[in-house]
């Protein structure tokens, strides 16, 4: 009996088969997935190993990267469907970035879809790995939505997860699964709780956090934007570039130091809407913030008020995860990475 209880399989990342590294990215058609793949292709290696197979999976068609190397495969797949996840891990990719998810607004609007994709889909992926009997590093993109107020002023790493959305609930449940599958030796999981990613390029998605990006992105591109909340609303941010860096770093760290606690709250920048607009003024000029129109929306304000404002992120910082420390930097990252002709200072 006790032998069975204690007889954990020892989890060792299976990197021995070749000098090249196979990588699977789920959610590869999403904003973060595309940025991660760009970064991996630009680096040309991961964890000191040359890129081998690169598997890009999403329920939406992933645009094939222009510089995709030999060994790239693109899947349009829903791995919450039977057999789909097994197909993805058949070639035993040594690093899996699991980003695929229905966003918060959609998971709230469609209860069953949120659980099917965000929870059952993740579980199906973990099960497929267990059945394939190999132990990849699995980096899981979780979210600060696992937390729900009331909060202390600064949230410690040991704070409990009491989500106030179905999305946050699903992420918190997968964090638990990730830790248990890792403890059992079925995979080598590292979960990272991403701050709100700002400035998102492109168009708004269904996330309630959309305005945090649009009040900067739209004015930087000469367009008006709507601010639905007060300027003193405070939240926790990192740029898409920092988030991509978190993912890469999570694939490379020595996961043994995590012990049984496999998910880390990522570092970020605690800032108010006022801080955002002040940075916009400094970077883009006095007149640019005038493009932001105040149109208070109590429904959005009610959601956003329940979100966390500041974390310690002590554990992640000790392990070398790094985010921006000012909104000026976050804006500069957007202008470098997304704008061909940045707005000048006035």
């Amino acid at each position: 009996m006790w032998q069975a209880v204690l007889g954990f399989q020892v989890g060792v990342t299976d990197m021995s088969r070749s000098d090249k590294i196979g990588i699977l990215v789920t959610g590869s058609a999403g904003m973060l997935g595309r940025k991660l793949v760009e970064r991996i292709l630009r680096d040309g290696h991961l964890g000191g190993k040359q890129l081998g197979e690169l598997l890009l999976a999403d329920v939406a068609p992933t645009e094939m990267p222009a510089d995709a190397p030999v060994g790239t495969r693109v899947f349009v797949t829903d791995f919450s469907q039977p057999g789909a996840a097994a197909e993805l891990v058949k070639s035993r990719p040594q690093v899996i970035f699991h980003l695929a998810a229905v966003v918060s607004g959609e998971a709230e609007a469609d209860f069953e879809k949120g659980y099917r994709v965000n929870f059952d889909g993740s579980r199906a992926l973990f099960e497929a790995i267990r059945q394939a009997r190999y132990v990849p590093r699995l980096v899981f993109a979780s979210s600060v939505a696992v937390f729900g107020g009331p909060f202390p002023e600064v949230i410690p790493d040991s704070f409990f997860t009491t989500p106030l959305s179905s999305y946050g609930t699903q992420k918190a449940m997968v964090e638990l699964l990730l830790a248990d599958y890792t403890r059992r030796g079925f995979l080598d999981g590292v979960g990272i709780r991403l701050p709100t990613i700002t400035i998102r390029p492109g168009k708004p998605n269904k996330a309630a956090s959309g305005f945090y990006s649009s009040i900067l992105r739209e004015p930087l591109n000469g367009k008006e934007a709507v601010l639905p909340v007060d300027e003193n609303m405070r939240h926790w941010f990192a740029s898409p570039r920092a988030a991509t860096g978190f993912l890469i770093h999570a694939a490379n760290i020595d996961s043994k130091v995590l012990g049984g606690r496999r998910t880390l709250t990522m570092p970020g920048l605690s800032a108010t809407v006022g801080d955002q607009l002040a940075a916009l003024r400094r970077v883009a000029g006095e007149d640019v913030p005038a493009l932001v129109k105040r149109e208070p929306d109590p429904a959005i304000a009610k959601i956003v008020t329940t979100w966390p404002q500041r974390f310690e992120a002590t554990g992640a910082q000790a392990l070398g995860f790094v985010a921006e420390s000012t909104f000026d930097e976050i804006i500069a990252v957007y202008m470098e990475d997304e704008m061909s002709s940045p707005v000048g200072k006035g």
Copy 2:
């Protein structure tokens, strides 16, 4: 969009249909289930309402209580199987005590069974309630096994759940589901994290905590018992009678005060094995503890060392949940409830 996000159904316990109260107990053949049913039948009412229908469900046959009233039904059922949970809630019992679970040792030894029963079974029950479109009070028996070390000396209510067993993982996942189903208005959930229940009557089960009961129960009955750990091992306890009281109280409290945080760590007694044996000596006489044989078992010690030792349980105490404050009381409860001819003082 925002209307959908905020359009929660309001959860109101559906007690309006009759003056009598219908009750479902899952895990009714287990130790705690039997004690709960005894208590309910002795009280003859719950929450100020006369007993109506009493549904007793377990995968093992539940012995029909001698004094079972008209309206009692006993089910041998596995509600992780399709359709089984729907059958249990068809008559819309207004209070559901969800105790059914595979114990910790078995959930560790049989990975798939643990998830199937403890997680999928609970989810199937919640889904059946959602589909039945009524809002019962659901009392979920969780466990301090949702916590995993390292711990602070005293664990606050806001401490994170990082279980070190599959059983603890499954309980923590169900806690999250319970809160989300409640927030959505699908049920009115209250989770209670039970301390290690001591002194368990009868024979040991597969729980790793078994010796905490047997080192008292066996000597009180004139038999030898084995102590596999050091006397300074500290843990968190309550009697079966206190646990039954927690369940009844959880069925009756005004759950609105819980807000989004639907699971509470129950109060208990923090005590060492030495404290247990000292109490045994005081209650049963100087010679009785000599029946406890020291046979160190590193495998058991390794598990037990990771368990929590002391909680604040501030929230539960404020809501009126009460446990024993000495091991003398816990032993007295056992002697009153379980022994027809208690051992005298020498």
